[in-house]
């Protein structure tokens, strides 16, 4: 800034000449300078004021807006969203093939305690012990008073128990909602369903996880929240399952058997319509597994899937079917059946030392269940081809069924497939599979030779399965199996109208100490019906049955498993919507024509 001098010399001289007071000029200039200074100061202080005002305005505006928001908004309690708890409790229902409920969820409550909130822990302990018989007063009292903050008391309460706990009226007792898995049909289909229990537990929810069976095998998809509204339909038919279980249970009691299993399978799709294993258990209250002992003694043991047994003569049809397929024999070919047969140091004889030989037709080998005849056929096939055939039928691998138990149950197969193995395997000894394996293999014969994949789900994907047998050899094999029922070892299963075909099998039980038991057998009847157009395969297996109605105890399948299977077919075939077959229908048509009623 250029300072203007207060007394500019030119003006002073001029003023002196004019006789004016030069001081006036100085004052005038001073005043001008002060004016400029004042102006600049004024501007600065005004700016300061404005900034200050703005600050105050902002502060007060914030307060006003906040107050306004508080006044205008609704007071809402913060709520815990279901997903935030980290435990998803939903679980899809399981239904049978017709939509009848097999497993569902029910809302119930768990009981827990906050001992520090309790008014009178001693009284609470006493009252709780009155409601729940398994609680001990002293124990509860100790736990209520040892200074802990939190205590689980019961995982699941019935409504009555909950009301009783409410009536105690102590603020230290609290309820947490729980989804509980419920099996309304009780023991029915217990082995298929398995059972469930609680996994991760919180106060507000608990995870329900599958313990065994389908609940375990399908656990992740059942728990998937996006699928939990859609029930999973099983291939099981509840009505059929019940009928099979009822007949099998009474058969087991009558024949004094230790256990029993039955598998009913649709031969075209491999769907398991019914799968029963006895003794069974209640999945609502799944018993603890027995430790140490033989797991087969536990009711949890699924004999139809986990029970790997030597299934005896039921295997004979595989050797014969393969021989038919290879063109080695026809049903009428005569084969050597001269018993006993000696092979190296082994002696192969028939049941009760009979001799059906010297020659027997292939159809009769099956009908009479000749070990020697089958052995000769198997020797013609040879070890390698036999093993490959059994493998292709799925008898030597894990069963692909969806049960978790099936994933750990390998068939027992000899490591070294020698010629004697070929002989024994042809009549079902030295090779052990589960009844479910057998059902799938028989389905292949029954449906005209196409491999099936057993499944417990109604909507399982259908794949193009390979053909194992030609239609002709499958039909011939079915015809021979029909012969077993009409004139062979299984005449008790000849249910009128359903043309049952099948093969019996009696195998001595292996002794864990080595060798075989003398009087303990596993009896199996593998059947298919109706023989003219097979629709279903039924396998019935009885563990240590004995028929005591005769003069001496009978332990062959023909007297034990066969009548039971016959009764099951008689009960179940109408439920499956199968009309009694041609023989009956033709008869009625003829009658109708004779009586003249058919044209009206």
């Amino acid at each position: 800034m250029i300072r203007t001098p207060l007394r500019p010399l030119a003006q002073i001289l001029l003023a002196r000449q004019a006789g004016q007071n030069p001081d006036m000029i100085e004052r005038d200039n001073l005043a001008k300078r002060h004016d400029i200074m004042r102006e600049s100061t004024k501007g600065r202080s005004q700016l300061r004021l404005a900034v200050l005002a703005l600050a105050f305005f902002a502060a007060f505006a914030t307060i006003v807006v906040r107050m306004g928001m508080l006044a205008a908004s609704e007071p809402v309690e913060p709520r815990l969203a279901g997903a935030e708890s980290g435990i998803s409790a939903g679980r899809a229902d399981l239904t049978d093939r017709n939509g009848r409920m097999l497993a569902t969820n029910m809302v119930t409550h768990a009981l827990y305690a906050h001992p520090k909130d309790m008014i009178d822990p001693v009284r609470v302990a006493k009252e709780l012990a009155l409601i729940f018989s398994d609680f001990k007063v002293a124990d509860l009292e100790r736990r209520f008073t040892d200074g802990r903050n939190f205590l689980w008391l019961r995982k699941v309460l019935s409504p009555e128990q909950m009301q009783a706990v409410h009536d105690i009226g102590d603020p230290g007792l609290l309820f947490g909602p729980r989804e509980m898995r419920l099996y309304p049909n009780g023991r029915l289909a217990a082995h298929i369903l398995g059972g469930a229990s609680f996994g991760q537990e919180g106060v507000n929810a608990a995870q329900v996880i599958g313990m065994a069976g389908l609940e375990y095998a399908l656990d992740s998809s059942l728990r998937d929240p996006s699928l939990s509204n859609q029930p999973v339909a099983l291939s099981i038919d509840l009505t059929v399952q019940d009928a099979v279980a009822e007949v099998l249970a009474s058969g087991m009691t009558m024949l004094d058997a230790k256990g029993a299993a039955a598998v009913l399978m649709d031969v075209d799709t491999g769907e398991v319509i019914s799968l029963v294993s006895l003794p069974d258990f209640d999945p609502n209250d799944r018993p603890r597994p027995i430790l140490g002992n033989d797991p087969a003694l536990s009711p949890l043991f699924n004999r139809a899937v986990q029970g790997v047994y030597e299934l005896g003569s039921t295997f004979k049809i595989f050797a014969v079917a393969q021989a038919l397929e290879l063109g080695l024999v026809t049903p009428d070919t005569m084969v050597d059946a001269d018993a006993p047969m000696t092979w190296g140091r082994f002696r192969i004889s028939e049941y009760e030392g009979k001799n059906y030989g010297p020659l027997l037709s292939v159809a009769d080998v099956i009908a009479k269940s000749s070990n020697v005849g089958t052995a000769h056929i198997a020797l013609e096939i040879g070890a390698e081809r036999q093993k490959a055939f059994l493998q292709s039928l799925g008898l030597l691998d894990l069963s692909p069924v969806e049960l978790s138990e099936a994933r750990g149950t390998y068939p027992l197969v000899p490591k070294n497939w020698s010629e004697i193995t070929t002989i024994t395997a042809s009549y079902g000894h030295g090779i052990a599979t589960s009844p479910l394996h057998l059902a799938a293999a028989y389905s292949t014969i029954a449906n005209g030779g196409i491999l099936v994949r057993p499944s417990l789900l109604r909507d399982h994907p259908l794949e193009n399965m390979p053909r194992i047998l030609s239609e002709k050899s499958a039909a011939q094999a079915v015809g021979m199996l029909r012969g077993v029922v009409t004139r062979g070892t299984a005449t008790f299963a000849d249910v009128d109208g359903y043309q049952v075909a099948g093969k019996t099998g009696t195998a001595d039980k292996p002794n864990p100490q080595g060798g075989y038991y003398k009087n303990r057998v596993i009896n199996t009847f593998a059947s298919l019906f109706p023989a003219s157009n097979p629709k279903y395969v039924l396998i019935v297996t009885l563990d240590e049955p004995v028929d005591n109605t005769g003069p001496k105890p009978r332990r062959t399948a023909g007297y034990t498993a066969v009548p039971v299977a016959g009764e099951i077919i008689r009960r179940v075939a109408p439920l499956l919507g199968l009309r009694p077959g041609l023989d009956l229908a033709q008869e009625t048509v003829v009658k109708a024509v004779i009586s003249g009623s058919i044209n009206q």
Partner: protein, 125 residues
């Protein structure tokens, strides 16, 4: 002119403010209702699942079997049996009674007079 414009704008703003105020409360009310309905639906769903479970429990095959046994004298229900399949030819179907044509036309006329009396009578003065 200008004061009128100001007045109009002010009125507009006031009207919009009033509308927004009402809309705000309507939305809050709606949201509350949705929450109530959601809770209702959840509750009803739960009830349905309980009813379904109960229905399945009451219809469990073991119980039905016991009930048929208990009420056998009234219902006489037995397990299904292959003999129960009948033949269509054996069913006594309804058969029209034999009749000649003249009889039929008479019947039809009678039927008409019986069923449509109002139409016949309507045009009368």
């Amino acid at each position: 002119m200008r004061p009128l414009l100001y007045l109009l704008t002010f009125c507009c703003v006031m009207a919009l403010a009033f509308w927004a105020y009402r809309e705000n409360y309507a939305t809050q009310h709606g949201m509350k209702e949705v929450n109530v309905l959601r809770a209702d639906i959840a509750h009803l769903r739960e009830s349905i699942s309980v009813q379904k479970a109960e229905w399945a429990y009451l219809n469990r095959p073991a119980r039905l079997r016991d009930l048929t046994a208990l009420n056998f004298d009234r219902l006489q229900l037995l397990p299904m049996n292959p003999d129960q399949f009948g033949d269509l030819a054996r069913v006594a179907l309804y058969q029209a009674p034999p009749s000649d044509m003249s009889q039929m036309t008479v019947d039809m006329i009678e039927l008409q007079t019986l069923t449509a009396p109002t139409e016949v009578g309507a045009p009368k003065p």
